[in-house]
């Protein structure tokens, strides 16, 4: 986990999932349930976190890129609040060892 990343740090980096090949998950009823083999924890991802996870499974991305993709999927403009939500998701992913900024 990166120590206390500020918004600028989070925004300026490209993010990737940590060893996605080892992850196991299901997507049911618009909710992702992910088993994280290194911690042994099961994580429940809401709609935004689930979509970020899905996008990162597909390719590495920045906050801006993820927010734009989310907005595109929901057919809404990419607002600041969406950026904030994506940052929160990535901070949490970083905390639980699910994703990391590419050095």
């Amino acid at each position: 986990m990166c120590p206390a990343m500020g918004d600028v740090d989070i925004d300026s980096r490209t993010w990737r999932l940590l060893e996605p090949a080892g992850l196991t998950w299901r997507c049911w009823d618009d909710e992702y349930i992910v088993f994280h083999p290194w911690s042994g924890m099961t994580h429940y991802l809401d709609a935004i976190a689930g979509t970020v996870f899905e996008l990162l499974l597909d390719h590495d991305a920045t906050v801006r890129g993820l927010a734009a993709a989310l907005a595109n999927q929901a057919d809404t403009p990419a607002t600041d609040s969406l950026n904030v939500a994506v940052r929160q998701v990535l901070r949490r992913f970083d905390e639980i060892g699910l994703a990391e900024p590419i050095p």
Binding site: W28, D29, I33, F35, T42
Partner: protein
């Protein structure tokens, strides 16, 4: 040889001396006690269970005895030891059998290394219904109702999944009935053996239903998980059957996991596979007749169309 086939006087002597070696849920458990009322209950409830030869290797040793030699005459409390260690604080003599029941549960669950969920399980025709629900929801009651109508008991408490293939293993011990469910099952199955009622326990009134012989003799047979039904008993309530979303079913099952978080990927894969392949329902019922009919109907639908993970009906 079954416990019940041995002359009673010989058994009583063996209980007091070296203990009786019973095969329960694949384990050999040595049961020893000199409390006559407890021996009587064991004979009634476990009469159909297989005995192991007099010598050999025990997987666990349960010894129930008076808390002190004097307590045999005053105080009347008993202690239970598992593998030489006391399991609980001394309990009243009239509740002594409850300590044996808990100790046996403890021995079996402590020796299980596979995934264990807190749920009742009953099987018919090779297919099993899993009944996950919090304590007091009526899962033991409905399980008792099913097994006294021809279903095979796998367990009224623990769904044990075999690591090799995710099939359910039998853990068929006497079914614990509590409070109003005792009278309900007495009325539902008047010919079934139910122990005397233990009143004033920490969980209210308790009694134990002897499993059908078939459930005991077929204890080595596994069953295929086919249906998930989360039951809730409400006095006089109409039958209500609602589909459980897969995500909801997953949460319900893992929340009731006795060791889900230590079984790691096998635990996740097993529960996720279960949710993928089994239709899941929430059942609220007011009478046993309704509940048993509904579960039999749901299982019949699964049997007719094993590929359908979600039956077409939503409410009855």
């Amino acid at each position: 040889m079954q416990l019940g086939a041995v002359p009673e006087s010989a058994l009583r002597a063996r209980f007091r001396a070296t203990g009786v070696r019973l095969r329960l849920a694949g384990l050999c458990i040595n049961l020893r006690t000199d409390v006559p009322a407890v021996i009587e209950q064991i004979l009634q409830l476990y009469g159909g269970y297989p005995l192991e030869p007099g010598a050999g290797t025990d997987d666990a040793r349960v010894h129930l005895k008076y808390a002190s030699p004097l307590r045999r005459f005053i105080g009347r409390r008993t202690l239970v030891f598992v593998d030489g260690e006391p399991l609980y604080r001394p309990m009243l003599l009239r509740h002594a059998y409850l300590m044996i029941d808990s100790a046996l549960d403890w021995c079996v669950s402590a020796n299980v290394t596979n995934l264990v969920l807190h749920a009742a399980v009953a099987e018919r025709g090779g297919l099993a219904v899993i009944l996950p629900a919090p304590s007091g929801s009526g899962k033991s009651t409905i399980c008792a109702a099913l097994v006294t109508r021809g279903w095979r008991l796998l367990s009224d408490e623990l769904a044990v999944f075999r690591a090799a293939d995710g099939r359910l293993q039998s853990f068929a011990l006497p079914i614990t009935l509590k409070n109003e469910s005792i009278a309900l099952i007495r009325q539902w199955a008047p010919d079934a053996y139910i122990s005397p009622v233990f009143t004033g326990t920490i969980r209210g009134d308790m009694a134990f239903l002897r499993p059908p012989t078939d459930s005991v003799t077929r204890a080595a047979e596994t069953a295929e998980p086919a249906l998930i039904v989360s039951p809730t008993y409400q006095v006089g309530a109409p039958l209500a059957l609602q589909p459980l979303g897969k995500s909801e079913a997953f949460r319900l099952l893992t929340a009731s996991g006795m060791n889900y978080y230590t079984t790691q990927r096998f635990g996740f894969d097993t529960v996720a596979g279960l949710v993928d392949s089994c239709p899941a329902w929430r059942l609220s019922y007011g009478t046993l007749e309704q509940a048993v009919d509904a579960i039999e109907d749901l299982l019949a639908r699964v049997r007719m169309d094993p590929t359908a993970s979600r039956p077409a009906i939503t409410t009855t």
